[in-house]
């Protein structure tokens, strides 16, 4: 545990405005090919299409949007699980997009991911002990087997699993417990940055709060930085410090979470927030919803002009002529990309 303690120690000495991750104009296009013998590229799914943001050490940045908006692809491209088509990802001062092989593997000790589906992301044929200790073996930490087991047991305890279950298999656990195993695995290498890709959306309501509270406790204890990818906007408000709203591969609004939720500037953010139901009949009776018509356009053929112009309730001529404008700071730290807001 010594290096973990050290990590917390060094964090105290750092400038609180320290940028741990800087993403600049990140793009990830998946090719669409045609032809049986001679494969040729006929188009591209623009899953992530020019995304820039910074993550400050120790904060939780939320990445929200509907399915297909590119939020998960952004998370995976940052970790280089997908290689970016264009753009730069700087993590703790080092450029990841050009890094490969062993250098990249070493960086993976500092950045980890928690997956959405705790049923699919754990190997059913491995015990909890071997799942959690696999990263340690790959990186050759704790060559002594007994020490390693002790460390794994300590990790299990930290995430609220009984170490007695170290030799059990994933199917013997409930969904919430499996997600705890996923968290223990992510923590094994003592990373500083974790991408949490919809970590609670597969869990029952009463279990979601357990996992979120655990993530918050671990953040306080270990000084973790989270990129929290989610579509549950209420939970994002609870857990995140800042939030980025994505639509069709681009960030349309970015800012401190209370500021964005109380003063949404982009028409998409406004519609998205108004669509979220509140568990209070009195509030629901008096709420005005902005219903946006239609579906998300295909990221393989985004509309010309602003991406949101097919569904936007306040669109005007410029929205069809000019592509969406760059993010503009409308209030302190609050950025919006919209032709209406200039």
């Amino acid at each position: 545990m010594s290096s973990q303690a050290m990590a917390v120690e060094t964090r105290k000495n750092l400038d609180p405005n320290d940028v741990i991750l800087e993403v600049t104009d990140l793009k990830k296009h998946f090719p669409i090919s045609a032809g049986i013998v001679f494969q040729r590229q006929v188009g591209a799914v623009r899953a992530v299409d020019g995304v820039s943001f910074q993550v400050i050490r120790g904060e939780t940045l939320g990445l929200v949007g509907e399915s297909g908006c590119g939020k998960s692809t952004t998370g995976r491209t940052i970790l280089q699980l997908y290689r970016p088509t264009e753009g730069s990802v700087r993590f703790e001062g080092q450029e990841l997009s050009t890094m490969s092989g062993n250098d990249l593997r070493q960086m993976r000790r500092r950045m980890q991911i928690i997956f959405q589906d705790p049923f699919a992301s754990l190997n059913p044929r491995m015990t909890v002990g071997s799942i959690v200790s696999e990263p340690l073996q790959i990186h050759r930490i704790y060559s002594n087997k007994q020490e390693r087991q002790q460390y794994v047991e300590a990790l299990m305890e930290k995430v609220g699993l009984n170490p007695y279950f170290i030799n059990r298999y994933p199917h013997e656990f409930s969904g919430g417990q499996r997600q705890r195993i996923g968290i223990a695995r992510a923590l094994a290498l003592e990373p500083s940055f974790i991408v949490a890709d919809e970590p609670i959306s597969a869990l029952d309501v009463s279990i979601q709060a357990q996992v979120v509270n655990l993530m918050e406790e671990l953040q306080d204890e270990l000084g973790l930085t989270y990129l929290f990818i989610a579509h549950d906007l209420s939970m994002v408000r609870h857990i995140c410090d800042r939030v980025a709203v994505m639509y069709l591969g681009k960030i349309v609004e970015l800012g401190p979470v209370d500021e964005v939720y109380d003063n949404p500037q982009h028409p998409y953010t406004q519609a998205l927030l108004s669509a979220v139901p509140v568990p209070d009949p009195q509030v629901e009776e008096n709420r005005q919803r902005i219903i946006i018509a239609g579906d998300l356009p295909s990221p393989a053929s985004p509309p010309t002009g602003c991406n949101f112009n097919t569904r936007c309730p306040v669109r005007f001529d410029l929205c069809f002529e000019e592509p969406d404008p760059p993010l503009i700071e409308v209030r302190p730290d609050h950025y919006v990309s919209c032709h209406r807001v200039t």
């Binding site: 009463s206 509270n213 509140v278 568990p279 629901e284």
Partner: protein, 336 residues
């Protein structure tokens, strides 16, 4: 208003190789004409199984409706023969399922699937039923409806498929529509579209509706009454204002406390319900929530383990007799 549906002491079990699953353990409720009932519960709470049971859709074997009555307009649905039940299903009671991709047949056109019940129940011929099907699709907001009758389900997006499901459900003007997590697979903006649509159609058709969900937020906006289920039993039931505003059961209280709210900044920690949902293969002798209940722990109540609390009007209900709950303790008073 008169009672449309009266469910009494419904017990459903599944006899599987891993043992008996006690899915629904004595559920009783009434539904009035034109009323919307929201059934809330987590996975395994028995909310879907109880509604499948009243439609006569429990796969048997392994499932079996052990006892209970389901009285719909004076007839006990559980005693009807399969061909009598078929005349009610789809015509009098219709159902919308969670996943529109798996509940539509991928090799039949949308038109074929909607006209099937029109031909069966309304005795329409092909051209009449196609015209009516196109009207229905138009009503649920599918553009260019007549031409789209010949499209297959994969040619529709998720939200559009759910609209098709709603059109199918409404095709014979049912008196009761059961919606089983109809928006769970959809994005929030599409969910808002579907909820608005259902609200508007419900008033138009004057249907009663049962809306099954795990999302307390969704039912807060549409249900007249809320019924909270856990471990195959009803924990609390009442008007939505009572259940949300004056919740009396430790489980309801815990659920509401564990939900972050969109309309308030989340500074304080979420209150969590400890433990995991129950294993339904063990029939609890007492209250199914007892192992996770902090009120039981705090008051050190022994009877929660051995005796099932009856579903009774909450103490000091303020004149509202319909607000009932099943708990030995009174969390407002802090005493048993």
């Amino acid at each position: 208003m008169s009672v449309l549906l009266d469910v009494k002491d419904l017990i459903v079990r599944f006899y599987t190789q891993e043992g008996t699953v006690y899915a629904v353990n004595g559920v009783s409720f009434e539904l009035e004409e034109g009323e919307t009932l929201g059934i809330v519960g987590e996975s395994g709470s028995g909310k879907s199984v109880s509604s499948l049971a009243l439609m006569g859709l429990i796969p048997s074997p392994p499932g079996k409706v052990e006892s209970g009555t389901v009285t719909f307009e004076g007839r006990d649905l559980l005693t009807l023969k399969p061909d009598q039940m078929r005349l009610i299903r789809g015509k009098e009671i219709a159902m919308i399922f969670q996943d529109p991709m798996t509940s539509l047949n991928p090799v039949l056109t949308i038109g074929t699937q909607i006209t099937e019940s029109l031909k069966l129940h309304e005795g329409m011929n092909t051209s009449q039923s196609r015209k009516r099907a196109a009207d229905l699709l138009d009503m649920v907001g599918i553009p260019d409806a007549y031409r789209r009758l010949d499209d297959y389900p994969h040619q529709f997006s998720g939200g559009m498929r759910q609209r098709v499901m709603i059109a199918m459900g409404l095709s014979c003007n049912p008196k009761l529509l059961i919606a089983d997590e109809p928006t769970t697979a959809l994005d929030v903006t599409i969910q808002a579209q579907i909820i608005e649509l259902v609200k508007q159609l419900k008033d138009e058709f004057n249907m009663a509706m049962i809306w099954i969900t795990h999302d307390l937020g969704v039912v807060a906006g549409i249900a007249d009454r809320i019924q909270v289920m856990y471990g195959g039993r009803i924990m609390e039931s009442g008007s939505s204002h009572e259940v949300f505003g004056d919740s009396r059961h430790p489980y309801t209280e815990g659920l509401l406390g564990s939900l972050p709210r969109l309309d308030s900044s989340g500074e304080e920690k979420l209150t969590q319900i400890e433990g995991s949902p129950p294993d339904m293969r063990n029939e609890p002798a007492g209250c199914p929530f007892a192992p996770r209940c902090d009120v039981r722990e705090h008051l050190n109540l022994e009877r929660c383990w051995d005796e099932r609390p009856p579903l009774e009007t909450v103490p000091n209900a303020g004149g509202d007799e319909t607000h009932v709950m099943s708990c030995w303790a009174d969390i407002r008073e802090g005493v048993a």
